[in-house]
C-alpha cells in the first residue's frame, strides 16, 4: 500500500514536471506526429523535376560512369541511384559535395542531380532539394531552439517528462482499479477531464515510456557519447568506435580498372543472396575501380527499426556480398536492442498501421499535456473561488494565454510553413530560410496575440487561423491544378493527395473546435479564464472546465 504522504509528494512532482515541460512537449508531439509522414510531406513539397523515369534502369551504368568521370569527389564519396520514382527524387542519380570551407571546419553540403540528355550526354545540375521535412523534424527535435541549446533543453525536458510519467502512475495506482476506464461523463466536467487525462495517459503509457527514454538518449546523444569515452573507456573508445564503423566502410580502391555491373543485375544478385530485403536506393563508390562497391539501404520486414542503419554492401563489379552485418537479422544482440529502441521512437516497424498509430498517439500525447495544463488552471480556479476571489489570479491567466498561444501557434505555424513550400518555391533565393521565417513569425505572433487578447478570445481567433492555415494546404494544390500560370504544382500520387486529404479533414476539426470554443466562452462560467463575460454574477453555476479545444 502506498502511503498518502507518498501520493501527495508525487502529485506535486507530477504537477510541476508536467507544467514546466507541457509546452515543449506539445510542440514536440505535434510536430513529431507530422514527421510520421515526413516522406509524403517532402514529396508534396518537391517541385516537378526531371524524375527517375527519365533514365531507364538499363541506361543507369552509362549515367553513373559519366558522373564518376566528371565529378571525382562524388565518385569517391558516393553516388546515389534512386529506384522508387517518388517526387522527392529529382533525377535518377544524385550526390552531395562539400560546400567551400576552411580545412577542418564544420561545413554544409551542396546537392547535385544528373540525368542523360536525349543524345546520351550528361546533364548535371546543382539544385537544393526541399528541406521542409527536415525543418518539421527540427521543430520536433528541438522545438525551434538553435543548437546546441535546443538539444540540451529537450534532453532536460525529456528527463522531466519521464519523471512526470512515473509520478503520474504512482499517483493513480491506488485508485487505478476503481478509476481506470471509468469515464464519468456528467455534471462534474473537471472529473470527466481528469478521467480522460488518466485513460489516455495509462493506455498510451508504454508508448510514452519508450518515447521519454529514447528522447533523453537521442537529445544528449553527443554528450553521452563523449562522456562514455572519457569516463567509461578512459579515452580508448576510438579503437572501439573504429570497430563499430567497420560494417559501414567501403573497401579502398586498388587502382585496377573494371566496369560496374548493371544495377538491375546487381539487384538480382542481391535478391538471390539476401532474400526478404527491400532495397530503397543504391550508393556507388569508386566506380571504374575493381574494388567499386555499392551499399543498398533498405528494410527487412518483421524487425523493429527495420530500415534505420540497415543495409547490405555488394561489390559493384561482381555483385558478390561484401558486408551485411548491419541488416536487422544479422545485427549483434546489442545493436539489435539499440535499433529496437530507436525503432520504437520512430515507429519504424510493421508498416502503415504503426505509422498511423504513432500519428494518433502523437496527437494524444499533445492532448495529454494540453489537458494537464487545463486541469491545473481549473484546480487553481476552484481554490481561488473557495478563498472568495472572483477574478482569476495572474498565474492562471498567464498559463492560460501561454497554453493557447504556444499550442495553437505551433499548429498554425507548421501548416503555413508547409503551404509556403509551394507558394515561395522558385520565388525566393533561400527557401529553407523562409520556412523558418514563416514558422517563427506565426508562432511568436500567436503567442503575442494570446497574451494581448487573453486565453478565451484568442483561442477562438487562433483556432480559426489554424483551420484556415491547414485548409490552405489542399486549397494550394487545387489552385495549382486549376491555374498552372501560378507556377505551382499538384502531384497526383496517392501519398501526396493523402497529405491534402489529411490536411482537409484536420482543417474541419479545427473549425469545429473554433465553433465549440465560441459557444463556451459566451455561455460558460464567467469566472473561468475561458469566458468573455464579466465575473461576479455567475458564481452559482457548477464548476466546470472548458469544452475541448484540442
Amino acid at each position: 500500500m502506498i502511503g498518502a504522504d507518498i501520493i501527495k509528494i508525487y502529485k506535486t512532482v507530477h504537477t510541476w514536471t508536467g507544467i514546466t515541460c507541457g509546452f515543449a512537449l506539445f510542440i514536440a508531439f505535434y510536430a513529431g506526429a507530422l514527421t510520421m509522414f515526413k516522406e509524403p510531406i517532402a514529396r508534396w513539397a518537391s517541385p516537378p523535376a526531371v524524375g527517375v523515369a527519365a533514365v531507364p534502369l538499363d541506361d543507369a551504368p552509362r549515367l553513373l560512369e559519366l558522373v564518376a568521370a566528371a565529378h571525382p569527389e562524388a565518385r569517391e564519396e558516393g553516388i546515389t541511384l534512386h529506384l522508387l520514382g517518388h517526387e522527392n527524387e529529382p533525377a535518377r542519380v544524385t550526390w552531395e559535395e562539400d560546400a567551400p570551407h576552411q580545412e577542418g571546419q564544420a561545413h554544409e553540403h551542396v546537392h547535385w542531380w544528373a540525368t542523360l540528355e536525349p543524345d546520351g550526354t550528361l546533364l548535371a545540375q546543382r539544385e537544393e532539394p526541399s528541406e521542409l521535412g527536415e525543418f518539421i523534424n527540427e521543430i520536433h527535435m528541438r522545438v525551434g531552439i538553435p543548437q546546441p541549446w535546443g538539444s540540451y533543453f529537450m534532453g532536460v525536458v525529456s528527463l522531466l517528462y519521464g519523471v512526470a510519467l512515473i509520478a503520474g502512475v504512482i499517483v493513480l495506482l491506488p485508485s487505478l482499479v476503481k478509476d481506470f476506464l471509468a469515464l464519468r461523463v456528467g455534471k462534474n466536467l473537471k472529473r470527466m477531464w481528469l478521467d480522460a487525462h488518466n485513460v489516455v495517459g495509462i493506455t498510451a503509457l508504454p508508448f510514452h515510456l519508450a518515447i521519454a527514454l529514447t528522447s533523453i538518449a537521442l537529445s544528449f546523444s553527443g554528450e553521452l557519447w563523449s562522456l562514455q569515452e572519457t569516463v567509461i573507456f578512459g579515452g580508448r573508445q576510438a579503437i572501439l568506435d573504429d570497430r563499430d564503423n567497420e560494417p559501414f566502410r567501403a573497401p579502398a580502391p586498388i587502382g585496377e580498372a573494371a566496369a560496374i555491373m548493371a544495377p538491375s543485375q546487381l539487384l538480382e544478385k542481391l535478391k538471390v543472396q539476401v532474400p526478404d530485403f527491400e532495397p530503397r536506393y543504391m550508393v556507388f563508390k569508386n566506380i571504374g575501380d575493381k574494388a567499386a562497391s555499392v551499399r543498398v539501404p533498405g528494410a527487412e520486414r518483421g524487425y523493429v527499426g527495420d530500415t534505420h542503419l540497415g543495409g547490405v554492401m555488394l561489390s559493384a563489379v561482381t555483385g558478390e556480398l561484401l558486408k551485411d552485418s548491419t541488416r536487422p537479422s544479422r545485427q549483434d544482440p546489442a545493436r539489435r536492442a539499440s535499433e529496437t529502441f530507436y525503432g520504437l521512437h520512430t515507429g519504424q516497424y510493421a508498416g502503415a498501421a504503426i505509422t498511423w498509430s504513432y500519428f494518433f498517439l502523437g496527437f494524444s500525447g499533445a492532448w495529454l499535456f494540453y489537458s494537464g495544463n487545463l486541469l491545473w488552471i481549473e484546480t487553481r480556479r476552484k481554490k481561488a473561488r473557495n478563498g472568495g476571489e472572483v477574478e482569476q489570479s495572474r498565474s492562471t491567466r498567464f498559463l492560460g494565454s501561454a497554453t493557447v498561444g504556444v499550442c495553437l501557434g505551433c499548429v498554425a505555424g507548421l501548416s503555413l510553413t508547409i503551404v509556403a513550400a509551394k507558394w515561395l518555391s522558385g520565388r525566393v533565393a533561400d527557401l529553407d530560410h523562409w520556412h523558418a521565417l514563416v514558422y517563427y513569425a506565426v508562432f511568436l505572433g500567436a503567442v503575442a496575440w494570446a497574451f494581448a487578447w487573453g486565453a478565451a478570445r484568442s483561442a477562438v481567433h487562433l483556432l480559426w487561423l489554424c483551420a484556415a492555415a491547414t485548409m490552405a494546404i489542399p486549397l494550394t494544390t487545387l489552385l495549382a491544378a486549376l491555374f498552372p500560370a501560378l507556377g505551382m504544382w499538384a502531384h497526383g500520387s496517392a501519398a501526396t493527395l493523402g497529405v491534402d486529404m489529411v490536411a482537409f479533414i484536420s482543417a474541419l476539426c479545427f473549425a469545429w473546435m473554433a465553433v465549440a470554443t465560441t459557444r463556451r466562452i459566451e455561455t460558460g462560467p464567467a469566472n473561468s479564464i475561458w469566458s468573455v463575460r464579466k465575473p461576479g454574477k455567475a458564481l452559482s453555476t457548477p464548476a466546470s472546465i472548458p469544452v475541448p479545444v484540442e
Binding site: Q228, I232, F233, R335, A337, S338, F341
Partner: protein, 97 residues
C-alpha cells in the same frame, strides 16, 4: 512525526538529477566491461549504452522522492555512486592497463 517523509524538493531533485546520472554512467560502464561478451563485444554495444543510461537516470530521478529526506537521498545515492565508480575504475584499470 519522525516517520513522515519530508518533501525537501531541491535536495531530493538535485540528488536524483546529479547522482542519478552518475549512477547511470557508472552502472552502464560496468555493463560495458562485464556484460555478455565483455569489452570485446561487437560494436552495437556502444549505441545501446545511451538508452540504458537514460533508463537508469529516469528510474533514479523518479524514485528518489521516496527517500525520507534530501539528506538521505544524497547519502544513499552518493554511497551507491562511490561503489559503482570504484568498481568502474577498477575495471578500466584491469582491462586497459
Amino acid at each position: 512525526m519522525a516517520n513522515e517523509i519530508r518533501s525537501d524538493w531541491w535536495g531530493k531533485a538535485s540528488a536524483g538529477a546529479i547522482l542519478g546520472f552518475g549512477l547511470a554512467l557508472s552502472l552502464v560502464g560496468l555493463y560495458a566491461y562485464l556484460g555478455p561478451g565483455g569489452i570485446d563485444a561487437p560494436g552495437g554495444r556502444y549505441s545501446l549504452m545511451r538508452y540504458l543510461e537514460a533508463l537508469v537516470w529516469i528510474a533514479v530521478f523518479s524514485f528518489c522522492f521516496l527517500f525520507r529526506s534530501g539528506r538521505a537521498a544524497w547519502v544513499w545515492l552518493g554511497a551507491a555512486n562511490l561503489i559503482a565508480f570504484v568498481a568502474l575504475f577498477a575495471c578500466r584499470f584491469h582491462f586497459f592497463a
